[in-house]
Assembly symmetry: C2
């Protein structure tokens, strides 16, 4: 309930949009259907995500309005732990909203937030939404996109980047096209990735990365929802 109030407040402040609130509601429903917990398949994807981020030369954590409100602090913590760059990248982009979301992220911790300078483009998507920073997304090799739209996830994969997407819908285009789809709530997911980043600093990360089977992980996420529905219905 507290999070919903924070989102309502962020909407009044212009950080989150009306369609962002609706998207958050969709996430709530999917999360509910997975028992509001990190499922075993999500936990595995989060371990793999930590390995990719540790292996990266230029890791970037992407943030939009919803991600800032829902998991802003956790993203800052992950950026510090790696270290990685953080870049604000909005679906409904305007100079004013960019400034609001960047300032909000800056208020959460001592990490540089990219996004004010848009001197690069994500190839293959419409102009305003394609804008990004050459220092950040433009030159990243591994990118974490919490709560992303399918178009952009697909375009980033097409540019040869490893895309780690956090999306609660295992059937979405984002989940289907990401290199590592994480079907989990964003703040839990990022917190758990940070946990594994600290655990895997000395590990043989290539084995973990190579053993990851994206299709198997997504199928497990779907089965986890089905199992939850069966159990929850019988236990009502």
């Amino acid at each position: 309930m507290l999070l919903r109030e924070r989102l309502a407040e962020a909407m009044r402040e212009g950080i989150v949009t009306a369609t962002g609130l609706i998207a958050h509601g969709r996430g709530e429903a999917y999360d509910y259907m997975m028992g509001e917990r990190t499922t075993p398949s999500a936990d595995e994807a989060e371990r793999v995500a930590a390995c990719h981020l540790l292996e990266a030369e230029r890791p970037v954590l992407c943030v939009n309005g919803n991600a800032a409100v829902v998991a802003g602090k956790e993203i800052i913590e992950l950026a510090k732990a790696l270290p990685a760059k953080v870049e604000v990248n909005l679906f409904h982009r305007s100079a004013e909203r960019m400034e609001k979301v960047i300032s909000y992220m800056e208020s959460l911790g001592d990490v540089e937030i990219l996004g004010r300078k848009a001197d690069a483009f994500i190839e293959g998507i419409a102009s305003e939404r394609a804008k990004c920073s050459s220092e950040g997304i433009g030159s990243a090799d591994v990118i974490l996109v919490p709560i992303e739209d399918g178009d952009r996830a697909q375009a980033l994969v097409a540019m040869g980047k490893v895309v780690i997407a956090i999306d609660l819908n295992p059937l979405s285009r984002t989940s289907r096209t990401a290199s590592v789809p994480i079907v989990d709530e964003a703040s839990r997911a990022v917190r758990n990735i940070t946990h594994y980043v600290n655990e895997f600093r000395q590990a043989d990360r290539h084995v973990i990365i190579e053993n990851f089977d994206k299709e198997r992980a997504l199928r497990s996420a779907v089965e986890e929802i089905k199992d939850f529905l069966t159990t929850a219905f019988d236990e009502r």
Copy 2:
């Protein structure tokens, strides 16, 4: 997409709240998981709902901000077809918002909209949310509540009313406590109820009402979601 823009506009006008937008998002996700169609179990519940409304002495159709935007026109059509009274009843009640939602409903058609005069109470719930009209909800025998909260649905059932609830989550308290839970999107559901109202004017409605098994209907709704997930995943 058009509906999302209408909701964003309604939010700016004060008809819909931030939490209403989030609730709409939850509905979108459940609807998606049922294939965005009226499932066979929902269709059966809608037939039963039509029979109850035709049998009623004092049927009332309840409307909140979301229902007004999502299914306002359909509710007016159903009110005319029966006829039934329409009453605005808000979770986040204020005199100003009541006036806005009532005026909006009045703009949709020539049907009297109750709610301005709050001279009765729904027993057993907190004061502001309990307010209702003695002419409408207060004395209704059958009440349709699209997109209701669980508390109020339960309180209305406890008052001895037949409660027809439209809620896309088959596991919710509203679905569990309603006399006739309809697991379907509100505008589709109300349109289909109106269709059956016109079809069943001369029918033996008692047989249809008595054959309805609420638990079986909800179990079918859960199975319909599970089947959709399996099929949608394999067909991606």
